[in-house]
Symmetry: C2
Subunit: 324 residues, 2 copies
Amino acid sequence: MRTTYAIGVDVGGTRIAAGLVERKGRMLKEARTLTPKTGPFGVIDVIVDLIGEVMGGTHPAELAGVGIGLPAQIDFLKQSVEFCTNLPLAGIDVRSLVMSRIRHDVTIDNDGNCAGIGESRFGAGKGVRDFVMITLGTGVGGLLFLDGEPYRGSRGLGGEIGHMVVRLDGAPCPCGGKGHIESYLGRPPIAARGREVAREFRGQAIRDMAGGDPEAVTAEDVINAALAGDEIARGILLDAGAILGEALVGIVNLLNPKLIVVGGGIGESCGFLVERAAEIIAAEALAGRRDVSVVQAELGNDAGVLGAAALAFDEHDAREGLHR
Amino acid sequence: MRTTYAIGVDVGGTRIAAGLVERKGRMLKEARTLTPKTGPFGVIDVIVDLIGEVMGGTHPAELAGVGIGLPAQIDFLKQSVEFCTNLPLAGIDVRSLVMSRIRHDVTIDNDGNCAGIGESRFGAGKGVRDFVMITLGTGVGGLLFLDGEPYRGSRGLGGEIGHMVVRLDGAPCPCGGKGHIESYLGRPPIAARGREVAREFRGQAIRDMAGGDPEAVTAEDVINAALAGDEIARGILLDAGAILGEALVGIVNLLNPKLIVVGGGIGESCGFLVERAAEIIAAEALAGRRDVSVVQAELGNDAGVLGAAALAFDEHDAREGLHR
C-alpha cells in the first residue's frame, strides 16, 4: 500500500523536533522541545511524546513509519548506536525502545545523514549526484552523496566530516581526538571564543547579547552580535569560516564534488561564514575548485525532520517492494 | 575479439616504467628509465620508446591497448591533463600525442588511480569493496574504491588524498596549498628533514648514506639508514607515519573503509611507518577503527603498470561491449 505520511524526528544535542510529513516533503504538523539532560530514557520519553503529538488522529495504515536522526555514529545495517559524543545514547537500542511503545516501524540514522537526505530530496541538493552536506550545530556532522546515493561506508559509520583532522596535535575534540573540525566549528568552541573576547573591552557587543555576563555567552550570542553588525563577533565567525574552508579544500581534492551544502544552525544563520569558506576553496583547492559550488542549506531546521521522514518512506517502500 | 595483452605505463616524477601484461596480471616484459627533465615532449618520447620496447613482436590484434598513469589530475571523461605538480604536462594532450605515434588505443588516468586499480585487481585490495589506496612517492596520491568501483568524483578529479589539509597554515605544498599531507609525506619533505639532521652530529648514519655530504641526502638515504638500524632516521619516518595516521583518522571517520593500502616507494619500503599510522588510527578514530585494516601494498613498483594495463583491458572491453 502506498502510504501518505511519515514521521521524522531530529534529535539534536540542544533540541528534539518531530514532524508529520507528506511524500512530497510538505510538513503538516510539527512539535519540538529541549533535549532533556536526564539520561537516555528521558530522551526516549521525549521522542515518544513528540511522535504522539504530531501523529494525532492519523490512521495507522496511512503511516509509512518513523525515521529518527540521532547525533551519533549508527551502524545502519544493525540499526545500533555505536558512538555518541553529546548524548548518553551509545549502546542504547533506541529503535526497539521507541518501536515497542509507538507500534510503528522505526528506522534510525545519523542526524547529519538525515539532514543530508532532506536537502538532497527536497532542498539545496535536489537533483545533484555528487555532493557533500556538512552541518554546523552543537557538533559537526555531514553526509556524502556519491553517484546519487548516500555513501555510508563499509558498516554505515561514514560521513563523520566533523572528525577529520585539520590541525595535527590541535585542540581537543569532544570525541577524544585532537584537532578535528569539530574542535573548532561546533557551538562549544565558538561560544568559548566568544566568552574569551567578551571578557575584554572590545567584546562589549557580544557581552551585551548575554545580558552583560561574559561567562554566559553562547554561540548564538556571537552570531547575533555579528548579524547586528559587530565586527569583533564577525571576526570570530570569519575565522571559523576559514577553518571550514581549509577542511573543505581537502574534501574537494579528495571527492571532486559538484556541490557542498552547509547546514546546521550555524551554517544556516551565517552566510558570510559560508562565503569565507567558499573563497578559501576557490583560492586553494586543485582543479576541482572549478566544479564545486558552496551554498547554504535551504530547509533550515526542518532538514533533519524532513530527511528522517524521507528515510521512513524509503524503508517502508523497500519493505513493500515499491520503487520511489 | 578477446585480446591477450595490454601495455601499462607508469609515469612518475622520478622514473617511467612500461610493461606488457596478460589479462590475469602476469607481467611478460618490462622496461624502465629515469624521467627526463627536458619538458613535456621529452616525456612523451620516453613513453613512446618504452611502449615500443615492451610491445616487441606482439601482433596488433592481440593488444587491447595502452593505459598510462600520470602524476597529474586527469579529467577522466575528457581524457585531459588538468593539473600536474611535478612534471610540465598540464594542458598537454598526452593521450593524442602518444596515440598518434603508436597507433593503438590509449587511456590516461592519474598514477595513484592506476596503482589503486592494480592493487584492487591483483594485489592487497583484491575482493574488497570499500578501500582506500594511498601512495607515498615523490608526491602523495591515492584512489577511493567505494562500493566496488573506483570513485573519481563529478569530473574524475577525485582521490587526491595527498592534498587534504592536516595542518591549518602549515608547510607549503608543491601544489601551492598549505599544510597538505604532501607537504609532510612525499620524498622532498622527508629528504629535507634528512638533510637538516645530517648537518648535525647525530645524523651521521644518514650523512654516510649520502657519501658524507649532508646536502646530498635523499629520502631513500633516510629510509636506507632507518632500515640499517639507525634510530634517528627511523624517528624521522615514524614522525611521518604519525602524520599519515592522523590524516587517515580523518579518512576512516569520513569513509568507514574496510581496508587502507599504503603503497608508493616510501610506503612499500617502510613497514614500521605504516604500522605507526595503524596505531594512531586504532587509538584515535571513531567506531570505524574496528572495521579497518591498514596494510602495505603487495605489488611494489609494478602496481602502477599493472593497474594501467588493467585500465586498458577495461576500456577495450567496454568499447567492444564485453564484460570482464
